[in-house]
């Protein structure tokens, strides 16, 4: 950060002295941006072969999860109020 403008990026203001909420907001922003998991990963060196395995695993997981979410969303259309009530 010493080479960039300070207090611009990754900064959150505290409202009404609510430090906990501000910290949680900052943590959420950082996790969504992938900075926290990046820092954790860089603690120890990750060999290129392990890195490739991890990338393919994450890609497969992402594809599976999105497809399953699509399937569930599609099937949940059946979960509606009975349109033929009384027949």
């Amino acid at each position: 950060m010493s080479h960039h403008l300070k207090f611009i990026a990754r900064t959150v203001m505290v409202q009404n002295g609510n430090v906990d909420a501000a910290y949680r907001t900052l943590s959420r922003i950082l996790t969504v941006d992938g900075i926290i998991e990046d820092a954790k990963r860089r603690r120890y060196y990750e060999k290129p072969c392990r890195k490739r395995q991890r990338e393919t695993y994450e890609m497969c997981r992402r594809i599976y999860n999105t497809e399953m979410a699509r399937k569930i969303a599609f099937l949940m259309r059946k979960n509606r109020q009975d349109p033929w009530l009384g027949c």
């Binding site: 611009i8 203001m13 900075i35």
Partner: protein, 192 residues
């Protein structure tokens, strides 16, 4: 996508958005199109919020020195407020309160508070270090402080808590965790 997000956040700074609302609206979607949609949504919602002036005046992001801002804390502008650096390593937590011109006010760590070895790597130790640093800084006349956190250690959150418990008022939290753009090679992976 990360770079796009950083640019997007900085654009929100200039656009003077209710960034607080964006952050709370059910999780931040990383898609840039969705970010733009939310931008339009909050802009349309803004007129309704003007009734509640105190909520809409709060900006989640800090005032930039270039663009004039009327926010002051005990008469001082944002860039003239002392900084509290917290270095939260996995084995220890260091806290140093510094003036905006980098003149030191107080320096404490878990070790200076009497904890030894493994006990330094705890949240309670970080909290006591925070309280001690806050007490020392208050004696030198510091009231408000901007916190800069470095590292992901056990004392990351509790050091800030300790600062507030010791009597200092935290106005902003910055994360300064060093992220190398593939610089030095870290140590080899532990095999447990």
């Amino acid at each position: 996508m990360t770079r796009v997000l950083v640019v997007a956040w900085q654009r929100f700074l200039g656009a003077r958005l209710g960034g607080y609302n964006v952050a709370l609206c059910g999780g931040i979607h990383t898609g840039f199109q969705r970010l733009q949609e939310q931008m339009e949504n909050t802009e349309s919602v803004a007129p309704e919020v003007t009734a509640n002036q105190s909520k809409s005046d709060f900006r989640l992001f800090p005032p930039v020195p270039g663009q004039g801002s009327s926010l002051t804390w005990s008469g001082k502008k944002y860039e003239d407020i002392p900084i509290a650096h917290i270095k939260a390593t996995y084995n220890n937590t260091h806290i140093q309160v510094v003036s905006p011109e980098n003149l030191p006010f107080a320096r404490t760590s878990c070790g200076t508070e009497g904890f030894r070895n493994a006990k330094k790597a705890t949240a309670i130790a970080a909290q006591t270090a925070g309280i001690a640093a806050a007490a020392k800084a208050c004696r030198k006349g510091v009231s408000h402080v901007r916190v800069v956190v470095k590292g992901l250690g056990p004392g990351r959150m509790s050091a800030i808590k300790g600062l507030t418990m010791g009597g200092l008022e935290v106005i902003s939290i910055t994360d300064d965790t060093p992220i190398p753009h593939n610089g030095c090679r870290p140590r080899k992976a532990r095999r447990l």
